[in-house]
């Protein structure tokens, strides 16, 4: 009975894989005291910024046995983070869930018409900030950020700008808010959204767009080889790693504007004050470790630890800023 045997072989392969997956899954949960286990939700795909931040924090907390329990990390992908955000809101009162969030999730709650905001959950802590940069091809006519600003103010439509996020994401908010700070009507900005850093790079290398606004992590190869130049970084202070340390901030160039992408952690709404303080304490302990220090340096993140009420106020302010920008553009 040949057919049976090959069918059985396939079935056996499937079962083997299922068992393997189950084992892999099981590694993440239930060992020791289950009351201390925490589920960490990541609102985007593996390998992205939220994933890297969330998983790094979880890895350090597990290695140092900070919580006394295990973590289960799950990527809940969809609608720019809104799907994960909805699950977090639905888990009101659950004291064993955390979720990694960031500026992009703020924008997605507007784009997808959600009727809750990040500050409606329980804000735990902001962890890191990440600077964005203004990128041009090597032979761009814009030698400095001043050249770009002059050309942009003279005729906003003459400068084509690209970013790796859809409207509401960091790469979109950055040029729009910068334009507003420079007295340019955000609606005059010619913005092209690309599906991530890869397509944005090829658009820049192929001179399809004049300027790229993006986080710099994905471009370090091109920057090192001299194919792309960085005109300015967006933070309040320069980055401290080569070769980016030589790049001026916008502030240094006389533009009263700074912008940072940030990431932090939320818990579901309606958890007890006691538990909230405990979760904050976990992250505070994690932040003190040399391993976290190392991760910050390796990933080009800036430490930006803000907790509890202050983080709540920060979220409120960010939310208003995003809403204003999107409103000016007529997108909400």
């Amino acid at each position: 009975m040949q057919p049976r045997s090959s069918l059985r072989r396939t079935a056996r392969g499937g079962i083997a894989l299922a068992v393997l997956l189950a084992l892999l899954g099981a590694c993440g949960v239930t060992r020791g005291d289950q009351d201390r286990d925490i589920a960490m939700m990541i609102p985007n795909s593996p390998g992205g910024g939220y994933d890297l931040t969330g998983r790094t924090a979880v890895r350090i907390m597990e290695e140092q046995d900070i919580t006394g329990g295990r973590f289960e990390v799950s990527n809940i992908i969809g609608a720019g983070g809104s799907v994960a955000m909805a699950q977090l809101m639905n888990a009101a009162g659950d004291e064993h869930i955390m979720m990694t969030v960031g500026l992009g999730v703020v924008g997605s709650t507007y784009s997808f018409g959600a009727d809750y905001r990040l500050q409606d959950a329980t804000p735990i802590a902001q962890l890191i900030e990440e600077q964005e940069g203004v990128l041009v091809p090597a032979d761009s006519p814009f030698g400095t950020i001043d050249d770009l600003v002059a050309a942009w103010q003279a005729d906003p439509g003459s400068v084509t700008i690209g970013g790796g996020s859809s409207p509401g994401g960091p790469d979109h908010l950055f040029p729009m808010q910068l334009a507003a700070a420079l007295g340019i009507d955000a609606r005059d900005v010619r913005y092209v959204s690309y599906d991530g850093g890869g397509p944005l790079t090829s658009a820049l290398l192929g001179r399809k767009i004049d300027v790229g606004f993006s986080g710099l992590g994905e471009f370090e190869g091109q920057i090192a080889s001299g194919e792309l130049r960085v005109l300015a970084v967006s933070g309040e202070e320069r980055l401290d790693r080569d070769p980016l340390a030589a790049i001026p901030t916008l502030m240094e160039s006389g533009i009263d504007f700074s912008f940072t992408n940030w990431r932090g952690v939320l818990a579901p709404p309606d958890i007890s004050q006691e538990r909230r303080d405990e979760l904050i304490a976990f992250l505070a302990e994690m932040r003190e470790t040399p391993q976290w220090e190392e991760a910050l340096e390796k990933n080009g993140w800036t430490d930006a630890f803000v907790t509890g009420e202050d983080f709540e106020d920060f979220l409120q302010e960010q939310d208003e800023r995003v809403a204003t920008t999107l409103e000016e553009l007529g997108l909400i």
Partner: protein, 512 residues
């Protein structure tokens, strides 16, 4: 011939009995995981990547190459045997391949896919070896206007596969275009046709749509007719490709390679575009008495070669620019970084030893895949001798598992059912499936490229003809349209002269 010497150096480093064993292991693992539903090459590589950690770099590359090609090939196996494509680039393979399988020609379809993949992969890898840096420079110059022109050409060519009834063909095409509209508008962030469901905001996964319409729709159709039609077992047929199969396959293999490689080499070219261009091309070239619609081997050979050539082509932007352009390529980028290779502009000069070993490994992995899998093709084909109720129960199980695995959302199972019912209805009303699938794939790509071109120009439509390649493609479109009008007129005159010939257009009603 400096490249040739370097490649020989890489081959010498890679060829040892121990390394060949790793390659064989990689190919087997890759094939078996790739065969599982919902696990396309990208997922297969991601799942098996940890297996290569801990090996020294050369052995790791070789095993990785084996996994990669094995995973690619495994995906076409399920398309052909079970009508359940694992990812968008093997959707076209399912269309003719599964028809062949139903006629007892599964072994030939699998063999043609394997040999076509081998030829395309080898030619593609050699092209990468010799031309990667030069190609990368040209590739970034091709922008949105050219892509839009190519998509438009494809849409024009779709009319060739509308089937016997133009009306039904257009209904299917527009259904497909509508399905493609669902989700977030990338340029403005507005949700479209999402019925207030945030789970629909990212659009519909082509794998879920294709598996629903192909596999589930067919299973429902068969179930609905089970009592009325006798239980037949699908014949197994001859195990090997005959002389006629070879004669009909070799040209599509080469044409598929020629189509696929440039699409892979161009950033954002996409792996599915060359597969359906190849399918349509073969269908057009097949002439009057073709088998398309009933299981034509050309329809398997061409798209499979295109798929693999485009996969080889993705190494051009990956190695020369550090740009991953497909899901599989971005997993490979992560893998390369894990092995200590930093892809980017300087890779070819700073780490040339590793690069040549990698390219040599790809050639070896590809060869071993053929050596191991060709003899397996008849064994796989015998799977279809399973009695029909059990076979379809298995297909349903695999389809559901596959749809769930893509995003691990129970909601996708509901979508699968909805598309299964749509597939059943389409069979009931004799709507052709192909235009719908092309609409789902082409529509969104075309929209994104057009809007990107117009966003860059600030709405100036002349931007659409701002690239030389775009102008050339528009010229081809005009020639194709004029040509088909003239040919249609001539055909009409000749049918008036002779008796009406109803067989010139393939019928689309041969389901089951």
């Amino acid at each position: 011939m400096e490249s040739l010497d370097l490649l020989r150096g890489g081959l010498e480093a890679a060829l040892s009995p121990e390394n060949l064993l790793w390659a064989a292991l990689g190919v087997l693992l890759g094939t078996f995981v790739g065969v599982l539903p919902g696990i396309g090459p990208a997922m297969a590589v991601a799942l098996l990547l940890p297996a290569t950690y801990g090996l020294e770099p050369t052995a790791a590359f070789i095993m990785f190459a084996g996994i990669y090609y094995g995973g690619m090939y495994g995906g076409s196996t399920t398309s052909i045997l079970l009508n359940t494509p694992g990812e968008s680039s093997s959707v076209m393979t399912a269309i003719e391949g599964n028809k062949m399988a139903k006629r007892g020609r599964a072994a030939q379809a699998l063999a043609s896919a394997a040999i076509g993949s081998f030829i395309a992969g080898t030619i593609g890898t050699l092209l990468v070896v010799f031309f990667a840096p030069a190609l990368a420079d040209v590739a970034v110059d091709i922008g949105a206007p050219s892509y839009f022109a190519i998509m438009l050409l494809a849409i024009v060519l779709v009319t060739a596969v509308l089937g016997s009834s133009r009306l039904r063909g257009f209904i299917a095409l527009f259904l497909g275009l509508t399905i493609g509209l669902v989700g977030l508008d990338l340029s403005t962030g507005q949700p479209r046709l999402d019925l207030g469901q945030s789970l629909l905001a990212d659009g519909l996964d082509i794998v879920v749509v294709a598996v629903g319409i192909f596999a589930l729709g067919e299973a429902l159709w068969v179930a609905a007719h089970l009592r009325r039609s006798p239980l037949t077992v699908i014949p197994t047929g001859r195990p090997w490709m005959g002389r006629d199969d070879w004669r009909r396959s070799w040209k599509p293999w080469l044409r598929g390679t020629a189509l696929g490689f440039p699409f892979g080499a161009v950033p954002a070219g996409g792996a599915e575009t060359p597969t359906f261009l190849s399918y349509i091309l073969e269908r057009r070239l097949a002439g009057k008495d073709h088998e398309f619609g009933q299981g034509a081997i050309e329809g398997v050979a061409g798209p499979e070669a295109a798929n693999n050539a485009s996969a080889a082509g993705t190494f051009v932007p990956l190695l020369a620019l550090g740009l991953p352009v497909t899901a599989t390529a971005s997993i490979m980028l992560a893998a390369l970084q894990g092995y200590g290779i930093q892809p980017g502009p300087q890779l070819m000069t700073t780490q040339s030893d590793l690069v040549w070993t990698l390219l040599a490994s790809l050639l070896i992995g590809n060869t071993l895949l053929l050596v191991l899998n060709l003899p397996l093709a008849p064994a796989w084909a015998k799977l279809l001798r399973t009695p029909r109720p059990y076979l379809y129960a298995g297909i349903l199980f695999f389809a559901a598992l596959g749809a769930y695995t893509v995003n691990q959302q129970p909601f996708d199972l509901l979508l699968l059912l909805v598309f299964g019912l749509l597939g059943l209805a389409m069979r009931r009303f004799a709507l052709p499936v192909l235009p719908l699938i092309l609409g789902v794939i082409l529509g969104p790509l075309m929209e994104v490229k057009m809007r990107e071109a117009l966003a860059i120009s600030g709405g100036d439509a002349s931007a659409l003809v701002s690239e030389p390649l775009a102008v050339v493609v528009y010229a081809i479109i005009v020639i194709a349209l004029v040509g088909s009008v003239l040919a249609g007129r001539r055909a009409k005159r000749s049918t008036l002269d002779t008796e009406p010939d109803t067989d010139t257009v393939p019928k689309q009603k041969e389901h089951v």
